[in-house]
């Protein structure tokens, strides 16, 4: 309990400070441009009670989960294949690097041409934005497995598939998970951009809610806040937690 207070204290103080600065600032500016925290809170409550925020958040989270899982499957399969074959790696890896540094939003018009203003276009952009990170992390995490551990595994009788399952995969895990963490972030950002642009869809997401709330500034801010909170929660509670757990177990980080 004490440790939890010690860990959560500073970030809570940070958020409180931000809200304070916001409240003071909002007092001096027209509420049509910068609404006060109280106005945003009531907009949030309104959005929750009439169901628009929970519905949009659920839709968006579902898309996020789907595109993250697809990116991980696709990225891992490609990365593993490239890790195994030197020629394929040298020829395909540069293309994946190119894909990773290309802003995902650049694919959106093309996705709309291919899939129309549909959910598919949004998810396509999220996957294209996220899977290269998984592929590159998979390749580099296999490349960084210490040769000594492979040798030790082999002298202890682990060979072939056993060597992969019991030595190489676990040794590669920290680098791989770091790649997943990066990938979900890309998927999340791409998803928001995609939703924002495909706001005409019947199915609403948080991005589409943003687009439709343009005349309701408190609601706009409340939606942004929900997006921020979801991002932070997924980062810390899912990927960050897994990552820290693995690293702490192996002594790669000390303390928190």
């Amino acid at each position: 309990m004490k440790r939890l207070a010690k860990e959560l204290g500073p970030p809570i103080a940070g958020v409180a400070g931000l809200v304070l600065v916001w409240a003071v600032g909002a007092a001096f500016v027209a509420s049509s441009t910068v609404p006060s925290p109280a106005e945003v809170w009531s907009a949030f409550i309104r959005g929750v009670s009439n169901g628009t925020i929970p519905e949009a958040a659920a839709k968006t989270l579902l898309r996020l989960a789907f595109s993250s899982v697809m990116s991980i499957l696709l990225g891992t399969a490609l990365g593993f294949g490239l890790a195994l074959n030197g020629f394929a790696r040298r020829s395909v890896r540069p293309l994946v690097v190119a894909l990773q540094i290309t802003p995902y939003i650049a694919w959106l018009p093309l996705a709309v041409v291919w899939f129309g203003l549909t959910e598919r276009a949004v998810v396509f952009v999220a996957i294209v934005g996220a899977f290269p990170s998984v592929t590159l992390a998979t390749i580099s995490s296999f490349g960084q497995v210490p040769p000594l551990l492979k040798r030790a595994g082999r002298t202890l009788g682990a060979d072939g598939w056993h060597l992969y399952r019991e030595v190489i995969f676990p040794a590669a895990l920290p680098g791989y998970v770091a790649g997943l963490e990066q990938a979900w972030g890309f998927a999340w950002k791409a998803l928001m951009a995609g939703e924002l642009i495909t706001a005409g869809l019947r199915a609403t997401g948080l991005g589409q809610l943003l687009q439709r709330s343009q005349n309701d500034v408190p609601m706009l801010v409340a939606t942004v806040a929900v997006i921020v909170v979801i991002g932070v929660a997924v980062e810390y509670l899912v990927f960050g937690a897994v990552d820290r757990r693995i690293r702490r177990r192996r002594g790669l980080i000390v303390g928190g």
Binding site: L149, G153, R154, T155, L156, R250
Partner: protein
């Protein structure tokens, strides 16, 4: 030529007429291509045998190819020419019949201390329900039962190498190969491990054959029945020194001290030769 040994049950085996060597290295050559594309001869025409139950140290300065020989014995590397035999059969690939203690402990960081030992047991076919108890007894053997559930990074360097020893022994190998396993330890931890290795070897009563690589003359004199002194580049066998000092040995033993100075003389002669144009 192997008949003048003095004590231990191993002697009985050695003296058995026509008994096959445990390990045989025949005219072994190992070359390597340097980064500039030149071919370097790392091991040049090395021949020796190791009897069952013997403790042999390959001694030489760094770059003498002793680690290459050990890697080939372990099956982690292939000879360029010549043969390496285990029980009369050519060695193909590594296996738990030849456990290796590396310079670094090479523990798996995702497994606990006892998990590392269980890893070895699993691959020699010990049933899952028996593994924990067996692993604990191997840890007891190196006095680390109190750290069974710790992660390797929580242990000192010496303790980690003792876990590696327990893990290697858990395979119940016929041969234990050591690649300067105490090289990176402080003096105290090194002495402790040298004693444990001596004890483990003695307790095997001639069933286990140990081949260790070292550049440390005192270590070789402390551990080995026989020291094979090597020259540097290309690595060749220079001299064979037999050690009859009783065990357990101590570096202060007069006999051990005499062997140390004897080997030093051989090595110094070699170094001064190497310095000549």
């Amino acid at each position: 030529m192997m008949a003048d040994r003095s004590q231990g049950t191993a002697t009985l085996l050695d003296d058995r007429e026509g008994s096959r060597p445990k390990l045989a290295v025949e005219r072994l050559v190992k070359t390597r291509t340097s980064s500039s594309g030149r071919t370097l001869t790392v091991v040049d025409d090395v021949t020796f045998e190791v009897r069952q139950g013997e403790f042999v140290c390959l001694l030489g300065p760094s770059g003498c190819g002793k680690t290459s020989i050990l890697n080939i014995l372990a099956g982690l590397d292939e000879p360029t020419a010549g043969r390496v035999l285990l029980d009369g059969d050519p060695i193909h690939g590594p296996g738990p019949d030849r456990a290796v203690l590396f310079q670094e402990p090479a523990l798996f960081p995702w497994l606990s201390v006892v998990g590392n030992v269980e890893f070895a047991l699993k691959h020699v076919g010990v049933a899952e329900r028996d593994r924990r108890a067996r692993a604990m007894s191997w840890l007891q053997n190196v006095h680390l039962t109190g750290f069974a559930n710790a992660q390797p990074h929580e242990l000192s360097a010496g303790m980690r190498q003792r876990v590696a020893l327990a893990r290697a022994l858990a395979c119940d190998p016929d041969v234990l190969l050591g690649d300067e396993p105490f090289g990176s330890l402080d003096a105290q931890a090194r002495e402790l491990l040298q004693n444990e290795v001596q004890r483990v070897w003695a307790e095997s009563e001639g069933r286990k054959t140990f081949v260790f690589v070292t550049h440390n003359v005192r270590e070789a004199a402390l551990l080995a029945d026989r020291v094979l002194v090597m020259t540097v580049r290309p690595g060749r066998l220079l001299e064979e020194v037999r050690i009859h000092a009783p065990r357990p040995r101590n570096l202060d033993d007069a006999l051990v001290a005499r062997v140390v100075s004897e080997i030093h003389e051989v090595l110094m002669g070699e170094v001064s030769k190497g310095g000549a144009p």
